[in-house]
Amino acid sequence: MTISRPINAGQAATLAGECRAEIHGLHRVPSDVPFVAGLCVLGGVYVLLIAGMLLADLSFTTPGNFLAALRSEDIRYAIRLSLISCSITALLSLWIATPIGYLMSRYPFRGKAIFDAVLDIPIVLPPLVIGLSLLILFRTPAGRFVERFIPVTYAVPGIILAQWMVACAFAVRTMRTSFDQISPRQEQVALTLGCSQSQAFWQIVLPQARRGILAAGTLAWARALGEFGPILIFCGATRMRTEVMPTSVFLELSVGNIEAAVAVSLLMVIAAVIVLLLVRALGRPPWNG
C-alpha cells in the first residue's frame, strides 16, 4: 500500500490499523505440538535404549550370581585395583588439566591451535592404538630408562598411565570450559590490587573453578573406570595383577561365564551412578533447589 498524498494523524492511524489487520489476518502461527513431540520422541528413544540395556543386564543376572562375583578373590582384587587406580588417575588428571586448561583459556601464544589439536588426540585416537603406542614408547631407550626405576609395562603403574592418557584429555577440556566461563575481569582487578598472576590464580580464579574441578575429576574417574583397550595392550590381562574391572568382564566373557561378566558390569554401573549422583549433589549451587 503506498501513500501518494499528505495524510493527517487520524487517517494515518486508520491506515496503520488496516495494514496491521491485513498482516495479522494472513499470519497463522504453526502448532508447537509436532516440534515438542519430535523432541520427546528422539530423547525418549535414546533414554529408553539406555534404560533397556540396564534392565536387560539386571534381568540376566540373579542376586546369587551377583554375590558370587563379589565373593570371587579375582574380582575383589579387580575392584580394589580399579578404585585405587581410578582415584590416582583422577588426581593426576586434575593436577595436569588445571594448569593446561588455564593456559589455554587465558594466554595467547604461537602454535596454540596445534597445541590444542594435540591435546585432543587421546580423545579421538582408538583406545587400542593408545595402548600400542604406549607399548612402543616404552620399548624406546627413554622408555627403557624409566622402566629401570619403575616397572610400567605389564604392571600396575602402567594401568594408571594408560587410564591417565585418555582421562586427562577429557579433564583438560572440562577445565578449559570452566575457566572460559570465569570472567578475566576479576583477575584484572586482583592485579591492580597488588597481586601477581599466580596470586590472582590461586586466590580468585581457583575458588570459583571448584565446580569445574569436581566435574573434571569425576569425568576423569568415570573415564578411567571404563578404560579397557589401552590397558589390555599395555598391561595385559593377568589375573590378580593387572586385572581391573573391565578386564574382569572380558576375562569372564572369554571363558563363557556371562553371568559373572554381567555381575561385574552391573557393579561398574552402580559405581558410575553413585559417582554421578555425588557430583550432582556436591556441585549444585546453594541457591538451586
Binding site: 582487578v189 586482583a190 591492580t192 590490587l193 597488588g194 570459583q208
Partner: protein, 214 residues
C-alpha cells in the same frame, strides 16, 4: 597527578594514538566519549592491564609506562564491579591489605573505617550474590581504596544503576574522593555525571583527547 604523553593504546584491531591528558593531584577528572570510542581501553592502559604501544604514562611524578599493574598503586573499579564471588564484603575490603601482609589489627581497623565511610557496615559478612547494584559499587569502591592508592580509575561506575541509586552513588563518589584526597579519572558517556562530579572534563573527539573548558 595523572599524565598521559602521546600515548598509543590498542585493543584488537582498534587503536588510538597521540593521547595526552593531565589531571592535577587531588582533582576529579572525567573522560567522556560515546560508546566504543576507546575510553575503557585508555583506562585499562593507565591501570597497566593493556600495554601502552607508545608514549609515557606518569602517575604522581613517577613514570609507570612499563610497570606491571600491581606496581602502579592504582585503585580500579571496572564497569560491572567485578566483585569476587567467593569472598565476603569484609574479605573484599581486606584483600589488598592481605596481599601486602598487613598486620591483622591494622587490617581490621582499615576495614571498619572503609565500611563506615561507604555505609556498608551492615553487609560486611555477605557475599556479592544478592547485593544491590548500589551496594556492589560501594564494595568495589572500598576494595579499590583499601590500600590507600593515590590514583583512582572508575570505568562507568554509575552505568548499571537505577535513577535513585545513581544519585546516591554519585554523591558518595564526590564525598569519598574528596575525603580520601585521591586523584580520580572517571570514564563515562554521561554529561550529567561530568557536570556533577568533575573538576576537569576531557572528551575523546576524532581519536584525540580534548580538555573541555566550561
Amino acid at each position: 597527578m595523572i599524565v598521559l604523553e602521546n600515548v598509543t593504546v590498542r585493543a584488537g584491531t582498534f587503536s588510538l594514538s597521540g593521547l595526552s591528558l593531565e589531571i592535577p593531584t587531588g582533582q576529579y577528572g572525567v573522560l567522556m566519549g560515546r560508546t566504543a570510542c576507546g575510553k575503557t581501553t585508555i583506562l585499562e592502559t593507565i591501570c597497566g592491564l593493556k600495554p601502552a604501544r607508545a608514549g609515557r604514562i606518569i602517575l604522581d611524578g613517577r613514570e609507570v609506562t612499563h610497570l606491571k599493574a600491581a606496581e602502579r598503586g592504582i585503585g580500579y573499579v571496572p564497569q560491572d564491579g567485578a566483585l569476587f564471588s567467593t569472598m565476603t564484603v569484609r574479605q573484599h575490603l581486606a584483600f589488598a591489605l592481605a596481599i601486602r601482609n598487613m598486620p591483622d589489627e591494622s587490617t581490621r581497623m582499615r576495614v571498619a573505617e572503609l565500611a563506615r565511610l561507604l555505609g556498608i557496615e551492615h553487609i560486611l559478612d555477605r557475599k556479592p550474590l544478592g547485593l544491590s547494584g548500589g551496594e556492589q559499587q560501594r564494595v568495589a569502591l572500598g576494595r579499590a581504596l583499601a590500600a590507600r592508592p593515590s590514583i583512582l580509575c572508575l570505568d562507568e561506575p554509575l552505568g548499571c544503576l537505577d535513577e535513585d541509586t545513581h544519585g546516591e552513588v554519585c554523591d558518595l563518589l564526590k564525598r569519598v574522593c574528596r575525603e580520601v584526597a585521591v586523584t580520580t579519572l572517571h570514564v563515562t558517556h554521561s554529561m550529567s555525571e561530568a557536570k556533577k562530579l568533575a573538576d576537569c572534563t576531557f572528551r575523546i573527539d576524532g581519536g584525540a583527547i580534548r580538555h573541555v573548558i566550561e
